[in-house]
């Protein structure tokens, strides 16, 4: 146990550490997506999941294929997409708020019944 | 491009015309003009057909034309007519013409009503001229969907419910039909969906055994065969006048025509095997419809059940597999179309005045509405088979034809079917006696106005046709008799 900890702290950062972070981020996102009622919180959770995916892209690229750049590009690409998506989503949410004075996901059922 | 395509083009052009028309006057002008043109054109085609036959052209179908429409699936647009289609075209043209005058004052959305009405007529004309299974199906569907809107928007009573019910039941049989059409095409191995070609190839016996009952059933539902007739009474009760006329007069005939043209023609061997089931069902329809009509209180229901009874005779006669009975079946389609349309037109006109269709709430209308009353009596008499009117010819041809089968099973069923002439008399006379004769009970009914000029045109057209068929049946019966021969030959193989 002690050795493992020492190795972990002294050597280069192992891939598991990065993956652990992204795993936590991703499931935090999943949890938030499932449990939150507010559209904003849901959106934030989606962003969390996206960012977790970005981290994975970069980490896998760095550790498994050091000579390649595709992972980085994908990450950048995803960030850009996420930004656009957030912008659109926020716009929709604001509009919803203006019309319905609420951003609770469960209450947005007027198109359904 | 064959001149037969004009049958489809005229309604299409009329629809475009209606689309750009501005006021009521223009709409009615377009409709009247177009429908008259259609009627004249149909008569011309009838004449041309007879002339061609007289000149000795004995091809199975005349004026055929064939264009590839969608090559990958071998779908062709192929047209052609024989005596049976000519009769059906005549019937449709007459009823559509009369229907326009019966819905002269339709409100609201006059323009839209007529557009959909035209689409219906386009569908039936297309169905009757086509020889290709796929295009037939296409037109069959076109003649179905507008019904939903016509009943749902311009109907009365529980119109939305009824429109839904009708369309779902008929769509179910369309689904069945589509399946069968594809089955027929692939099993036959023909290189196109043209029925003449499929008939030449023949369909393997195994395939016929499951395709025939389904195809026949699909068309028989359209022809309101027991126990799948229940779309009909409700449909009639809620439909606006012109649509009721159209439905009883033409749409139900698509069923009989389909049974004749597709089910029997393409799958003769299986037809022999399964005929008895459908004969029994037909005879049940005949008797059951007639008895059910006796106990009804609503005029439209009486005539709807009467339609069930009369159309039962159509399938009954088709399944007798001999020339006389089959001729009778086609004649019965023609004659039932005319008289059902007449009666529904009159019911609509009476309802428009009394605002009730219950026979208990009307009496003595003959005194205030002599024209409508007399026409109603004529319609009723035609329906109960008075000589000189069309119903007699068709029923007698059917009975004589059915009697040529010496088998006891057929004999008994034929005799049972014959007894409909008595039951029909019972409900027709009951209805006529209650609403037209006697003293006027309702004060409001004392000041009703008799038929207007446009209503008269509608009624007189139909009555004239009924008389014409009834008093000079020889040419029409000869024309049909010669045209059912290909089917008989197929069945005799």
């Amino acid at each position: 146990m002690g050795d493992l900890l020492i190795n972990f702290l002294s050597g280069p950062v192992p891939i598991e550490a990065y993956l652990g972070v992204s795993l936590i981020m991703f499931f935090a996102g999943v949890y938030g997506f499932l449990s939150r009622k507010s559209l904003l919180m849901i959106l934030i959770s989606v962003e969390l999941m996206l960012n977790a995916a970005d981290i994975n892209f970069i980490v896998f690229n760095r550790y498994l294929y050091p000579g390649h750049m595709e992972g980085f590009f994908f990450a950048l690409f995803t960030i850009a997409i996420a930004a656009c998506e957030t912008a659109v989503a926020i716009a929709i949410i604001i509009n919803i708020y203006r019309n319905l004075s609420s951003v609770q996901a469960g209450e947005l059922n007027q198109m359904k019944e | 491009m064959n001149f037969l395509s004009l049958f489809v083009l005229i309604p299409a052009l009329m629809m475009i015309g209606l689309f750009v028309s501005k006021n009521r006057k223009q709409i009615l002008f377009i409709m009247t003009f177009g429908a008259s043109l259609q009627l004249i054109f149909t008569s011309v085609v009838t004449y041309m057909y007879l002339a061609e036959r007289a000149a000795g052209n004995m091809a199975e179908m005349l004026f055929t034309a064939d264009t590839v429409w969608y090559a990958p699936f071998n779908i062709h647009y192929s047209v052609g007519i024989d005596g049976v289609s000519v009769v059906m075209l005549l019937l449709s043209a007459i009823i559509i013409f009369a229907g326009i005058f019966a819905s002269w004052k339709i409100e609201p959305l006059t323009k839209e009503f007529f557009i959909w009405y035209n689409l219906l007529s386009l569908g039936v004309f297309g169905f009757f001229i086509c020889l290709d299974l796929f295009t037939m199906f296409l037109y069959y569907e076109i003649a179905l969907v507008p019904m939903f809107l016509l009943i749902g928007i311009w109907g009365s009573g529980k119109k939305e419910f009824v429109a839904m019910k009708l369309i779902l039941m008929l769509m179910a049989c369309s689904a069945l039909l589509l399946m069968c059409i594809l089955g027929i095409y692939y099993q036959s191995g023909a290189s196109s969906m043209n029925i003449l070609e499929i008939a030449k190839h023949g369909i393997p016996l195994q395939a016929q055994y499951y395709l025939f009952p389904l195809t026949f059933l699909a068309f028989a539902i359209k022809g309101a065969m027991f126990p799948f007739h229940t779309w009909l009474p409700d449909g009639h009760a809620s439909a606006p006048t012109a649509v009721s006329m159209f439905q009883a007069g033409v749409l139900m005939k698509l069923g009989g025509y389909g049974c004749f043209r597709i089910a029997l023609y393409l799958m003769p061997q299986a037809a022999h095997e399964f005929a008895w089931i459908f004969i029994i069902l037909s005879v049940i329809s005949v008797i059951y419809g007639a008895f059910a009509a006796v106990a009804q209180k609503d005029l439209k229901y009486i005539n709807a059940y009467s339609s069930v009874s009369h159309c039962g005779l159509v399938t009954f006669a088709l399944l007798m597999f001999n020339q006389t009975a089959m001729t009778g079946a086609i004649l019965q389609m023609l004659s039932h179309g005319l008289m059902a349309a007449l009666i529904f037109a009159l019911i609509g006109m009476i309802y428009g005045r009394t605002h009730t269709r219950l026979i208990n709430e009307m009496s003595g209308l003959m005194k205030v509405l002599p024209f409508l009353g007399v026409s109603y009596v004529i319609g009723g008499l035609a329906s109960l088979g008075l000589p000189g009117l069309s119903g007699f010819i068709s029923e007698m041809t059917i009975f004589v034809g059915a009697f040529q089968e010496a088998d006891t099973f057929y004999r008994v069923l034929t005799i049972i079917a014959c007894s409909t002439i008595v039951i029909t008399a019972v409900y027709i006379l009951r209805m006529v006696g209650k609403i037209l004769f006697g003293a006027i009970q309702d004060e409001h009914h004392k000041h009703l106005e008799d038929a207007t000029w446009y209503e008269r045109i509608s009624v007189v057209t139909l009555i004239a046709a009924i008389f014409a068929v009834g008093s000079a049946p020889f040419w029409i019966s000869a024309m049909i008799g010669e045209s059912v021969m290909p089917v008989i030959t197929q069945l005799a193989k």
Binding site: - | P233, T324, K367, I393, M396, T397, V400, S419
Partner: protein, 636 residues
């Protein structure tokens, strides 16, 4: 004899003109059209009768002429309906009868129906009826006969229901149509059987005596009875319906709701004898191939005749008395046919046929006269009930005398026409079976009794107080009475045996002196009895009624046959068949279809939570699913 076509077509033309113009014509014009058309065709039919009986006899046998013959519709290589004209002695005789009576009725109606609403319509219907009846009798084939058979049925329906605002008239017309229609079903099935086996509809072929066309019926039987007996029996049912044979007679008394001249024309003289005509037309077939049916016809005729005569004795409505008397007399004609043979110049086999046709002829004349006389009385008294009449002889001398002549004729008193014809039927019946002969003689006695009961009740007995003094009818009504009375007086001396016989060759009538004497004695006795009971007002009839109250009540209620019919139609057909079927249709078949819809809807309501639209829910399900799959992949 092409011009006979005109006889048929002119009434049709007049129907079309009158029917289309209807109230646009003045009543007088409509009446004039009707009468003049009838006048022309009556003349034409007399001419054709003379021409036929004088010119168309070859070697002692009258020819069968077919001056016109067109194919109307073809069913298959054998069967086709033709429209044509067949002239032979019976159709010529019927032409004369129909046109004569119809002309008289048309003239009579000018006055009788004056001022009625729908006068033009009335004449249109009369023309329609005349047309159809003429078409019926000249039919060349059995299907043409059926066509016109239906047409006379419908004209009878229209004329009975002429007063369509009167519920009883509407009900009567409906009943008449449906009962005869029911009989026609038998007729139709009979035709279908006959045509199936013989491959023809044509009377000339059927009656030609050629055995080969019936060859296919040999040995075919059903329930022990040969197929030809079934066929001819079924065809007779049609005739029984029109001719009001028991138990299909119930429509005829009710049919008296129609205007009286119509009753005279249709329900006394012409249409009701269509059944007799039908049997006569197919007589060779009946005689050769279904002799058993012919005997059944005789017994049915005799029973009906007796049954109707008994009822006629107690009815109080004068038109109903006449109606039952008509039924009874048609029974006589049926008996005449039923007991007859063909030919037989020595053994008198053909006597029944000839006598029956003779009786048809004479009966048409005197029964029309009786009805027209009754109409004249009703016109004067405004009532149909016997006890509103009495002592009318002073006010209506012409009606009185003509009515008396007709009564004497129907009672069978020499030298009036009824004597000759009825006597020959009796003679033929005695030849066939003495018991049947005796029964028929008894019925003849009853006939004399009830006719004179009627006569004395109307014209003698106690005078009834009237609001207006009854008056004799004007000339247009009196002329037909006088004319028909004249015919009734002389018709008995017509050399009928030379004209109309079963084998179309001459037949010498020998009056059977015993039968004749006996029947005259019976008739005279009955008349005396009636005179004693009804000439002066007496208590005897009432006493008799109370003594025999059981049978009296049954007879005045017409032996409850109508009630049986109402029970069958209302209780059984309507309540036990139609209503349940209608219920079944709505609540079982339709409900099944509707319930399919309901179940589908219910299922989708239940399953719609799966499609909530809540993305979070979807994601949750998705996540759980992923985890489960992952777990499966890891551990399994």
């Amino acid at each position: 004899m092409q011009y006979t076509l005109l006889i048929i077509l002119l009434p049709l033309l007049s129907f079309i003109v009158l029917g289309l113009m209807d109230s646009k014509l003045k009543p007088k014009v409509a009446g004039a059209i009707g009468v003049s058309v009838l006048g022309i065709i009556t003349l034409l039919s007399y001419i054709s009768a003379f021409e036929y009986f004088y010119l168309h006899k070859i070697e002692g046998v009258y020819e069968k002429l077919v001056p016109l013959h067109i194919e109307w519709i073809r069913f298959n290589e054998f069967l086709h309906i033709d429209l044509g004209i067949l002239l032979d002695p019976i159709s010529i005789m019927m032409l004369v009868v129909i046109t004569t009576v119809s002309l008289m009725v048309n003239i009579y109606s000018l006055e009788y129906m004056k001022g009625e609403k729908g006068f033009q319509r009335y004449y249109a219907f009369l023309s329609l009826f005349t047309f159809s009846m003429l078409g019926l009798v000249v039919a060349t084939n059995i299907f043409q006969m059926y066509i016109f058979w239906e047409l006379v049925g419908v004209s009878s329906y229209l004329l009975i229901g002429f007063y369509y605002t009167k519920p009883s008239a509407v009900a009567a017309s409906k009943k008449a149509f449906i009962v005869t229609r029911f009989a026609d079903l038998g007729f139709l099935i009979g035709i279908l059987f006959l045509s199936f086996y013989t491959k023809t509809f044509d009377f000339n072929i059927l009656n030609s005596g050629d055995a080969s066309i019936f060859a296919s019926t040999a040995g075919v039987s059903f329930m022990g009875i040969s197929v030809m007996s079934w066929t001819m029996g079924l065809i007779f049912i049609g005739g029984a319906g029109k001719s009001a044979m028991f138990p299909l007679h119930i429509w005829l008394p009710d049919a008296m709701e129609g205007p009286t001249p119509v009753s005279a024309l249709i329900h006394a003289a012409t249409m009701v004898v269509a059944g007799v005509f039908l049997v006569a037309r197919l007589f060779p077939v009946y005689h050769t191939y279904a002799p058993d049916v012919l005997h059944v016809i005789a017994y049915i005729g005799a029973f009906t005749s007796l049954f109707a005569a008994v009822i006629a004795c107690v009815q109080t409505d004068i038109k109903r008395v006449l109606a039952f008397s008509t039924i009874s007399q048609i029974g006589f004609m049926m008996v005449g046919l039923g007991v007859s043979g063909i030919g037989g110049h020595e053994g008198h086999e053909g006597l029944g046929y000839m006598a029956s046709m003779f009786h048809l002829f004479t009966h048409a004349m005197f029964k029309a006269l009786l009805f027209l006389g009754a109409g004249s009385v009703i016109h004067a008294v405004h009532s149909n009930e016997m006890n509103h009449m009495g002592g009318l002889r002073k006010y209506m001398p012409i009606t009185n005398i003509t009515f008396l002549i007709a009564c004497l004729a129907i009672a069978g008193i020499f030298p009036f026409s009824g004597f000759f014809s009825k006597d020959e039927i009796l003679a033929a019946t005695f030849q066939f079976s003495p018991y049947l002969g005796a029964t028929m003689s008894f019925i003849a006695g009853l006939t004399a009794f009830y006719m004179f009961r009627l006569y004395f009740n109307i014209f003698w007995g106690k005078e009834h107080k009237h609001e207006h003094t009854p008056h004799e009818s004007p000339f247009t009504m009196a002329f037909p009475l006088v004319f028909l009375a004249a015919v009734t007086v002389v018709a008995g001396f017509l050399p009928f045996g030379k004209l109309v016989t079963a084998d179309r060759s001459e037949y010498i009538i020998h009056l059977d002196p015993i039968v004749a004497t006996v029947s005259i004695i019976i008739a005279v006795l009955s008349i005396t009895l009636a005179a004693l009971m009804y000439m002066k007002e007496k208590e005897t009839p009432k006493q008799l009624a109370t003594t025999f109250s059981g049978i009296f009540k049954m007879a005045s209620n017409r032996f409850y046959i109508d009630e049986v019919y109402i029970f069958i139609t209302k209780k059984i057909i309507f309540n036990l068949v139609s209503t349940p079927i209608a219920w079944f249709d709505r609540n079982v078949i339709d409900a099944t279809i509707n319930n399919i819809g309901v179940v589908t809807q219910w299922t989708s309501h239940k399953t719609k939570r799966f499609q909530s639209g809540q993305v979070q829910q979807y994601a949750y399900v998705f996540l759980v699913g992923t985890l489960i799959i992952a777990a499966i992949m890891l551990f399994v």
